[in-house]
């Protein structure tokens, strides 16, 4: 047996013992995810146990170095682990912006001290992070942000407002873009980390058309932040921000089909009486299965370091547009049943609310228009893009 075969056999055996059966059942919705953090209440013993054993091995972040709480796996091993997890239908032990967004940015731009301080907490799911990027006046034009961060000698003083902060009301810490200089648009931005319990931080959930409030407005009123919590250097946060955005898009594109994964929509819907709808669903399934193939290919490219840096934009664009189409079709198949907004029959209007929720997919994390512009500029190299 090669080393890799040995690793596979051992991993399989270990998972067999350590992955609780409940954690092998498909997630019914996003609500089943484990986010961790100081305020987290585990939904079951199985959920707690699965996080603990995986974190213990560093397998919440299998390819991070062991020193920072990771598994220290080689890319090939990491792939084997993914395959084995997929084979038993294991749920992700931890869903976290710390893992998918901040972690990669810290690994690349953080100081040694920052890595040792923040990464292990992320790996163990002890601190839940949120992202302070967008502002009311700066949506797609992210670099236009105005949240002011002044150097007060022994600390930073932050004043301003963020918007679209996902789960800010449930997060422990924030990674935040702030303006440390007005002299240059992109060159006056810094990337700052701080505790959401710092005095002067407040959040206000935003009610969405779906009736859910996954986002907040977040206000900073004379928030004091220690000096060593800037990542990547003062006024050099834009590079960190962009790097992190790529990872965010990878994550979003990975979620592309939401809870659907590679399951055929037509199978999910059961008998489709309307032949016209059936045709549309089949056309959708063609696109969705093709996109799933692309996602696998992209992930392999990524892990092999061969992915074009703008590819996440392409994936994010295609995946989110597909997901919107998916939910349009689910609504069409559900007919007037799915139009019920808060009946028990629809579990409180779940189909319609999820459908409306997907409309944000092509806006959050950079609009579809922004992604197409990035593809045009960085992949096609069109002039003036």
């Amino acid at each position: 047996m090669t080393d890799l075969e040995t690793f596979r056999a051992e991993t399989r055996a270990w998972l067999e013992v350590n992955c609780p059966p409940e954690m092998r059942e498909p997630m019914k919705s996003e609500d089943d995810a484990c986010w961790g953090g100081r305020k987290w209440t585990f939904q079951s013993d199985a959920q707690r146990q699965w996080l603990e054993v995986m974190a213990e091995r560093g397998w919440t972040v299998p390819d991070w170095p062991k020193d920072y709480g990771g598994g220290g796996l080689l890319p090939a091993e990491s792939k084997v682990l993914r395959e084995e997890l997929r084979a038993i239908g294991a749920r992700s032990p931890l869903t976290s912006f710390g893992i998918s967004m901040l972690g990669p940015a810290l690994l690349k731009y953080g100081t040694e001290e920052q890595k040792r301080r923040f990464l292990p907490e992320i790996a163990r799911g002890e601190i839940r992070w949120c992202q302070g990027y967008s502002e009311p006046g700066a949506g797609s034009d992210l670099a236009g942000l105005q949240t002011k961060c002044e150097d007060r000698g022994d600390h930073w003083l932050v004043n301003g407002q963020k918007v679209w902060t996902s789960y800010a009301d449930q997060a422990d810490w924030i990674f935040c873009l702030v303006r440390t200089s007005a002299e240059s648009k992109q060159g006056g931005i810094s990337f700052l980390l701080f505790d959401m319990e710092s005095p002067g931080v407040s959040t206000k959930p935003i009610l969405l058309i779906s009736g859910y409030s996954p986002f907040c407005e977040t206000f900073f009123d004379d928030v004091k932040v220690p000096k060593d919590q800037v990542v990547g250097g003062v006024n050099r946060g834009w590079d960190v921000a962009k790097y992190l955005l790529q990872h965010e898009r990878e994550m979003i594109s990975g979620m592309g089909l939401g809870g659907g994964g590679s399951a055929l929509l037509g199978k999910l819907l059961g008998t489709i009486e309307d032949p016209f709808l059936r045709a549309e669903v089949a056309a959708f399934d063609v696109d969705a299965l093709a996109f799933t193939a692309m996602s696998e290919h992209f992930l392999d490219q990524l892990k092999a370091g061969e992915a074009h840096p703008a590819m996440p934009s392409m994936m994010k664009y295609s995946g989110t547009e597909l997901n919107k189409r998916r939910h349009e079709l689910i609504m069409a198949a559900g007919g007037s049943d799915t139009l019920e907004w808060d009946s028990e029959r629809t579990r409180g209007g779940k189909p319609a609310r999820e459908w409306l929720r997907t409309k944000a997919n092509s806006i959050e994390g950079g609009t579809s228009e922004i992604q197409l512009g990035i593809v045009a500029k960085h992949i096609l190299r069109l002039p003036g893009a």
Binding site: D141, D274, L277, K324, L339, E340, G349, I363
Partner: protein, 376 residues
């Protein structure tokens, strides 16, 4: 038609002023939604419809109405759509009124409708998809009348309705047009179970269950076993009307979006300067104009009782639903984050389109009728 007469322009102006002042999103839709109104609309506004004569738009002059037609109804409904005004106008003054016309039931029901006192609803669908031929709700003869057993859903305004036009089967089998009978069932009929359901757009529809609901023989609208005739008339008027309302929804969403494109700045420019958005907005505009022409054409043919009316009603509803769907999706997307918030009105257009687009058949249903009617 294809061009409005002066009278029609006047009616359009009147409806535009009335609904633009009294029927706004803030005063009506949001108000009734946020106060949790069980009807989902305001009876005061419905009274105003009556005072302006609008409740009688489709009712013959000799029965006290304006004696106008589908075209005039379409003009009013476009303004209703534009303002997302919740009201029983479409079900009562358009669909039900046409269903009752010439059946002898007018005398009983038109005065209440004209006065803005009566709300009417249509109870057709029994499953999640519109399929009127599939009606299975049983109406069994008993004595001088009938006993109804079965269930209905997606009965818009069903819980507020004084009159429910119930499509039942007195003969034949599900799938057949023969053997269908239309009954006028009054509010509070014994054995009638009403579940008031809130829909995505905050409007109300009911699920009705009939447990041995007894009705007199004179509750029959039209002929026994011949209910397909008044039902078709009601559906044609209702579908043409919903097409016009959808055009209003589309135009309202599109106008709001174009305004936003002229106001919102990103990257130091108005986003309306970005060519990709310009082209999409121009395409959308074209689609809405075409949908309106189709809706008007359908109304004109209905008013002329022309044989092509049936086909064009299918076309109009399908086209209007597709255009409105495009309008609300482009509208929300072009508004960006703010478009996702409950606070902004654009999302309300998306919700309304979903309900209205499905009512009495979604666009696929109507496209399928085009194919079937044309024999391919």
């Amino acid at each position: 038609m294809t061009l409005l007469t002066d009278d029609q322009k006047q009616l359009q102006d009147m409806a535009r002023t009335f609904l633009g002042e009294e029927g706004t999103i803030k005063q009506q839709l949001r108000h009734w939604r946020d106060t949790g109104c069980k009807d989902g609309f305001g009876h005061g506004l419905w009274k105003q419809f009556a005072e302006l004569g609008l409740t009688g738009v489709a009712i013959p002059e000799d029965q006290g109405g304006l004696g106008l037609g589908a075209t005039e109804a379409a003009l009013v409904l476009e303004e209703i759509g534009r303002n997302l005004t919740p009201s029983p106008f479409l079900t009562t003054a358009v669909a039900a009124a046409k269903g009752l016309e010439g059946t002898g039931q007018g005398e009983r029901w038109f005065p209440g409708i004209l006065a803005g006192d009566t709300v009417a609803a249509l109870a057709i669908d029994e499953g999640k998809h519109h399929a009127p031929e599939q009606v299975a709700l049983e109406a069994r003869r008993q004595g001088n009348g009938f006993v109804l057993n079965g269930a209905k859903q997606f009965v818009v305004h069903g819980a507020s309705a004084d009159l429910v036009l119930v499509v039942a089967r007195t003969g034949g089998s599900p799938g057949e047009r023969e053997g269908v009978t239309l009954f006028a069932v009054e509010r509070g009929a014994s054995g009638l179970d009403v579940e008031n359901v809130t829909l995505t757009d905050s409007s109300k529809a009911a699920r009705l269950t009939f447990h041995d609901v007894a009705v007199d023989a004179d509750a029959v609208v039209g002929e026994v076993d011949g209910g397909w005739t008044p039902l078709s008339r009601a559906l044609a008027a209702g579908r043409a009307g919903s097409a016009a309302e959808l055009v209003g929804v589309a135009a309202g969403a599109s106008d709001m979006t174009v305004d936003y494109l002229k106001a919102r700045k990103q990257f130091g420019r108005l986003i309306g300067e970005f060519q990709a958005l310009q082209h999409r907005a121009a395409h959308l505009h074209s689609e809405i104009e075409i949908a309106r022409a189709a809706a008007w054409k359908a109304a004109e043919l209905l008013d002329r009782d022309a044989p092509q009316a049936e086909l064009m009603v299918y076309v109009a509803k399908a086209k209007a639903a597709r255009s409105a769907s495009l309008a609300v999706q482009e509208g929300v997307q072009m508004h960006g984050g703010i478009g996702m918030t409950d606070e902004h009105d654009i999302g309300l257009y998306m919700k309304r389109e979903a309900v209205l687009g499905s009512l009495w058949g979604d666009w696929r249903y109507h496209a399928r009728q085009v194919a079937e009617l044309s024999g391919y």
